[in-house]
Amino acid sequence: MKLDKKTVKYIANLARIELSGEEAAYFEPQMQRIIEYVEKINGLNLEGIKPVLSFSPNTNVFRPDQIQRFENTEGLIANFPQKQDRFVKVPKVIE
């Protein structure tokens, strides 16, 4: 897989990170080398191998569907970068 600056910018867009042309040029060769390196796994025969989806010995962990109130709501609100009364404030979403 050959990575170019356009792909780097496309990935950054998916990841919601603003990237300047200069930064894209900085990351491109590094990511290219990392991707070339990880393509090593193509050397493995993975025919019929099941993917590892979990290591936990626990499967299907159930709990009663009961509401538990978080005890420190004020602590949450205090962290809002912008707020009005007890609400998070964000720029207008719908034009």
């Binding site: 950054a12 998916l14 919601r16 990511m31 990392i34 990880v38 626990n58 602590g75 970068p81």
Partner: protein
């Protein structure tokens, strides 16, 4: 009295015997942080008095001071993962491990510096600047829990907590000459640990004396309804260090390869001879998929990181950039808030998970992980535990690998396999290079066999004194 030369349990014993008060002990280490931290930058936040703790605990570490890695939430205190994007975030709750430490009577001194979001092997990606290795301040302490390792090494705290995803406890423990354990996946609750790679992350202890590591693990482990991957297990028994005869130690041949420094090779072989002379059986074993571990790990861990870090969007907490529209808030906040390594990993993970590449990278890596897991399963039929070098070299120079991410990733080559398999692994100091830098050996055990790791390390520490060495400046 030189309290920094004592183990945690010795300090707790003196408190119990009323020879020392909680306050005296806290102040002693608090003052050492004030005195030495400016040259090490290992602690990013310290407190004038301990966070509220149980003064009546009868735990073996009651009253012992501890430093916590800055990705473990402390109620009412800033918790930042050494990232600009979380500057100003005050955790509204305590992580489960912190609650357990407080109940067991430990006195929290402060938060340790780290690589941003635990992405790194050198502690150079922190927004607070790099941590220095107490053995040589021109070198890195390892990472990502480099601050946690450095504070124990320099005697700024008897014990500390770190987190390990691909080697982030063991590699810095090795670089700083202290013990560090990555427990079995599921042993310790991650509730309140800011997530990096959720199928890997484990919290674990650092100490000089191995007994302290065992006590700390007993305190922090156990099932927690708030982390559904956690499991209940019997507390570990006290160390049994009388006899290792007949114990079968596997030595994977794939770990003694080109790139392994001569000094490290020699030191590990000396430790193996020591075990052999004391009756253990040393057996060469094979983990054939080892050479693929780093590749598999960087695909999976970056993918999980890109997903976990999507929560940092500037809306509900942390840093927010000024912007006209909501989507602009995301783009600008994440551009400004994340450092370069964080961006690299997020983009790498986004790439592996994106449409058209998922099968070729992420899914393949999940399958390859199965092979690595099976390698260990087969190998543990032939031995009780394994010994390998923790890292191919001793601590490297600050700046040496910063702009070469691939070379940085390859420094985790020996710790990553056990992480991919979810196995417990411990790094124990076992000597020095000709330049006087510490070397660590990694002991890998089977699932939930931490007791066996501790017993072997305990036997080693009873008969050697590497773990008692303190860098001269911090004597």
């Amino acid at each position: 009295m030189d309290l920094h030369k004592l183990s945690g349990w010795e300090i707790a014993g003196k408190i119990k015997a009323k020879k020392l008060s909680f306050e005296e002990v806290f102040d002693y280490f608090h003052n050492r942080i004030i005195k030495f931290n400016p040259q090490l930058n290992a602690v990013v936040r310290w407190f004038d008095k301990p966070l509220e703790f149980n003064r009546n605990s009868d735990s073996p570490l009651a009253g012992v001071p501890i430093v916590i890695k800055d990705n473990i939430c402390l109620k009412g205190k800033e918790t930042t993962c050494a990232s600009r994007i979380l500057k100003g975030f005050v955790s509204p709750y305590d992580s489960t491990v912190v609650q357990k430490l407080k109940n067991a009577g430990l006195q929290i001194l402060g938060a340790a510096n780290m690589d941003e979001f635990a992405f790194g092997s050198s502690c150079e990606t922190s927004c607070y600047g790099p941590v220095k290795n107490p053995w040589d301040k021109t070198r890195v302490p390892g990472g990502s829990s480099g601050g946690s390792a450095a504070v124990v090494s320099a005697g700024l705290s008897p014990v500390s907590l770190g987190s390990d995803t691909g080697g982030s406890i063991r590699q810095p423990a090795s670089f700083c000459g202290v013990c560090g354990l990555k427990p079995t996946y599921g042993k310790v609750s991650r509730y309140g640990l800011i997530a990096f790679g959720s199928s890997f992350d484990q919290i674990g202890p650092f100490s000089r004396d191995i007994q302290d590591c065992l006590y700390l693990l007993n305190i922090i482990s156990g099932k927690d309804p708030k982390d559904s991957t956690s499991v209940q297990a019997e507390p570990l028994k006290n160390l049994s260090v009388q006899d290792i005869s007949g114990l079968c130690i596997g030595v994977p041949k794939e770990y003694f390869i080109e790139g392994l420094s001569e000094d490290v090779d020699k030191t590990i072989r000396q430790a193996l001879s020591f075990f052999k002379n004391n009756g253990a059986v040393i057996k060469e074993i094979s983990l054939p998929s080892t050479e693929y571990s780093v590749a598999v790990y960087y695909i999976l861990a970056s993918s999980e990181a890109s997903s976990n870090l999507s929560r940092f969007d500037g809306i509900k907490y942390g840093h927010r950039e000024k912007a006209e529209s909501l989507s602009e808030v995301y783009f600008k906040t994440r551009a400004k808030g994340f450092g370069r390594e964080a961006k690299r990993r997020i983009m790498l993970g986004t790439f592996s998970l994106s449409s058209g590449y998922y099968e070729a990278y992420y899914l393949k890596a999940l399958k390859a992980r199965q092979l690595i897991k099976e390698d260990f399963k087969a190998a543990f039929k032939k031995c009780d535990l394994m010994i390998t070098p923790t890292s191919p070299t001793a601590a490297f120079k600050i700046g040496e690998k910063l702009d070469n991410p691939l070379s940085m990733y390859l420094s985790d080559i020996f710790t990553i396999s056990a992480s991919l398999a979810g196995l417990p692994a411990l790094s124990v100091p076992c000597g020095f290079t000709s330049q006087g830098l510490p070397v660590g050996m990694q002991i890998i055990g089977n699932y939930f066999q931490e007791e066996m790791l501790f017993n072997l390390a305990g036997f080693y520490q009873k008969n050697t004194d590497w773990h008692k060495k303190i860098p001269q400046e911090y004597e």
